[in-house]
């Protein structure tokens, strides 16, 4: 057998193979021990990688759980198209938990300003209750944000979906404790130990298809608080904001009203990897309007039941 990483040592593995092996182990552990798992699939790159790992973990059997998308109603159409096509190719069931639907039902109220970020959480929790999911795979990584650095791979949530940083289970070796009582659940983060660069390198290595907005394309944009925002039906510029055309790409593809683009000429994964290796801004700092409000914003949202 040839060395996997050119190290010259026969039984060594590259960092990507090691991360993949760990993530596969985590996914199998959940399916073996939990009753009703689901995977949060947004069509974003982290969830695409996660879905690929699920595909590998159970091969040649199909992925043994449904996937779920919390649809804010403010998504990029390219991403929704991609989402639908991908689940069809894999033959997995897609559950859409719709924020619009929840607003119409009176479960949540739209916040002034139109942001639907906070109200995603009750919609997610509502779906978890309805389908009685006890394990939810999320694509979050520990390198994303400070409050995540201490997040467990198996993150315990009480019957209100809440995260209590003081009440998390110690995780040793690769032994995970997924025991829950009725109504409680576990958020599972198989990509905990991956960095943004690892994700991109994996996408390149696996030749994974991504929604087109991840690559540089021309788009009508305007600047808000120094961030490059796309003109979409959900995110219109205000009076003083000038619209111009620029070559941009997205580093994350969440809610169109909150997700900013970055200037880029990268049209291949290789070029993106090159850009990411020298970038000096975190993914969230550069492009996520939602976490900028306060340094502890993420921590608060997690406590409420957010990923």
């Amino acid at each position: 057998m040839t060395p996997l990483d050119g190290s010259g040592f026969e039984y060594s593995m590259s960092q990507l193979s090691l991360l993949e092996a760990e993530s596969i182990h985590i996914m199998r552990e959940v399916v073996a021990e939990m009753q009703r798992p689901t995977l949060l699939f947004s069509g974003g790159k982290d969830s695409i990688v996660m879905l690929r790992i699920a595909e590998k973990a159970f091969w040649p059997a199909p992925i043994p759980f449904p996937v779920m998308h919390v649809d804010t109603g403010h998504n990029f159409p390219e991403v929704l198209d991609f989402r639908d096509r991908r689940v069809q190719e894999l033959g997995v069931q897609l559950i859409v938990a719709s924020v619009q639907d929840a607003i119409d039902r009176g479960l949540v109220r739209e916040e002034p300003g139109g942001s639907r970020n906070r109200i995603q959480t009750p919609v997610l929790l509502d779906a978890v209750e309805k389908y009685r999911f006890d394990a939810l795979f999320g694509g979050a990584r520990r390198d994303e944000e400070k409050a995540r650095a201490k997040e467990r791979v198996f993150s315990f949530r009480d019957e209100f979906g809440q995260w209590d940083p003081k009440n998390q289970r110690p995780e040793l070796w690769s032994l995970y404790n997924g025991r829950v009582f009725q109504g409680e659940s576990i958020r599972v983060f198989p990509l905990s130990n991956w960095t943004e660069l690892d994700v991109w390198q994996y996408i390149e290595h696996e030749q994974l298809e991504l929604p087109p907005i991840y690559y540089a394309h021309e788009r009508e944009v305007y600047l808000r608080h120094g961030m490059v925002m796309a003109v979409t039906e959900h995110s219109l510029p205000r009076d003083h904001e000038t619209v111009f055309t620029a070559l941009v790409r997205y580093r994350t593809v969440g809610d169109a009203t909150l997700t900013a683009a970055v200037y880029s000429e990268a049209v291949t994964v290789r070029q993106i990897v090159d850009e990411v290796s020298v970038t000096r801004l975190t993914e969230r700092g550069a492009t996520r309007g939602d976490d900028k409000f306060s340094e502890a914003a993420m921590e608060d949202r997690k406590k409420e039941g957010y990923f």
Binding site: M1, D5, S7, F9, Y11, S12, M13, S14, Q15, S17, L18, L19, E20, A21, E22, I24, H25, R28, E29, A32, E55, K56, A57, F58, W59, P60, A61, P62, R142, D143, K146, A147, A149, K150, P165, K166, R169, P170, E171, L172, W173, S174, L175, N177, R179, V180, F181, S192, N193, T195, L197, D198, R280, L281, T282, G285, A286, E295, A296, E299
Partner: protein
């Protein structure tokens, strides 16, 4: 590029956060927005200079208390290696965090303040590192700038620690004098200490050989999940998925499945990317066997002439991790060992270990939070186990309180009969 997992430990104020901040900063793992946030916090707090330690201060609750209370994971990479740091706080009561962080570490960095030399906690950290069988240990003598970069100071700490380390079982020990604040011997060798001819910390981290630390001798494959596609294409497919815990498995190898004891051969080793000729730790693969045996999760595949202990009587060093309860003889707990779940009865607490003096208190009748002791358990089902020193995967387990579902202890199997 490969991967190194390391844990850091030190007493409060030895400079651990500064060291990690510097490693992240110098390897460019710090992003501008993170630095901005830290600069702002430093200014708000009235610090004179940007406090790199703030880069690693996680949750608000901790920031308010000014101490780090849980294991945090940090990431950085050089062209040679990706690194995962388990940043474990040095505060007195947090043995549990150190044990957690060390459980997956290939290497541990223990910091001491050159002015103070070895303190009680340095010894404890070294002991925990060896208890968890972290294969490589670095004693980082920090704040050398405050002792005029003195070779004598370094040498006296080195010899004192080396003497202590002979009592422990330290496989590979390295001493590095440094100043985390000034960056001496962190990324590059420092001119301030010409008498030191060893590597910088980063150079050592990049080059220490870890792949050979894995056990490639004893074949151990705990069955995690049975793959049985209900499809026409793979109608008769039956594969045993798992992560190799030891040894090298090859197609054609004769194997035994525990607990049944039936032998068969490996028909093939599958992955979604195609079959592989060999599987070794920690690969996640799916094994097909030549015979149709009844194999399920929790079973273990090994070689006929090299089998683990099959036992319901387990002797182990146990670290208690729960603040709301204590370990006592007579107690019943759930045990998770590799992919096997069972229940365990605490038969006996043989002694409680004082992690500072290594004194054994045989009169102890319980283990509380952060206490370590030697325990005998009786399990409801046999475990397929190796001594932890031989295999960290088949030698480690956790205990779970079934009334709260909390993970209350970590155990390392010593012997079992």
């Amino acid at each position: 590029m490969d991967l190194l997992r390391f844990a850091t430990a030190g007493s409060v104020d030895d400079g651990k956060s500064t060291l990690i901040g510097r490693l992240l900063y110098d390897s460019k793992a710090i992003f501008e927005d993170q630095l901005e946030a830290v600069e702002k916090t430093s200014r708000d707090r009235g610090d004179e200079y940007t406090n790199l330690a703030l880069l690693t201060d996680g949750l608000r609750a901790e920031r308010e208390q000014g101490i780090t209370i849980d294991v945090a994971y940090r990431y950085f990479a050089t062209p040679k290696r990706k690194f995962i740091i388990a940043d474990t706080p040095g505060h007195i009561q947090y043995t549990r965090n150190m044990v957690t962080g060390a459980s997956t570490a290939d290497l541990a960095v223990i910091l001491v303040d050159a002015r103070n030399g070895l303190v009680e906690q340095s010894r404890r950290h070294a002991f925990l590192t060896t208890l968890l069988r972290v294969p490589h240990l670095v004693l980082a003598v920090n704040k050398m700038d405050l002792v005029d970069y003195s070779e004598e100071v370094f040498e006296s700490i080195r010899s004192e620690f080396a003497a202590f380390a002979t009592k422990l079982n330290v496989p590979d020990l390295t001493f590095i004098p440094m100043s985390a604040l000034n960056g001496d011997n962190i990324v590059t060798r420092s001119d301030a200490m010409p008498w030191y001819d060893g590597p910088s910390l980063l150079h050592h981290l990049e080059n220490v050989h870890v792949a050979s630390d894995r056990n490639l001798v004893d074949v151990r494959f705990p069955v995690q999940y049975v793959v049985r596609p209900q499809s026409t294409q793979y109608h008769d497919y039956r594969g045993y998925a798992g992560q190799v815990a030891g040894g090298v498995l090859k197609a054609g190898d004769e194997v035994v499945v525990l607990p049944s004891g039936f032998s068969t051969t490996i028909a093939g080793i599958d992955t979604a990317d195609g079959p592989v000729e060999e599987a070794f730790p920690p690969m996640s693969v799916t094994i097909r066997l030549a015979d149709n045996l009844d194999v399920s999760r929790g079973d273990l595949i090994c070689r006929p002439n090299n089998q683990p202990m099959v036992t319901q009587d387990v002797d182990a060093m146990v670290c208690w991790m729960d603040s709301a309860s204590a370990l006592r003889p007579g107690q019943k707990l759930a045990i998770k060992h590799t992919t096997r779940n069972a229940r365990a009865l605490v038969k006996d607490l043989q002694y409680r270990l004082d992690v500072n003096t290594l004194h054994r208190d045989e009169a102890a009748d319980e283990l509380g939070l952060n206490e370590i002791g030697r325990v005998r358990l009786r399990t409801t089902q046999p475990l397929f186990a190796d001594p932890y020193g031989r295999n960290r995967t088949t030698g480690g387990f956790i205990l779970i309180d079934e009334s709260t579902n909390r993970t209350v202890a970590a155990g390392m199997i010593t012997t079992a009969e």
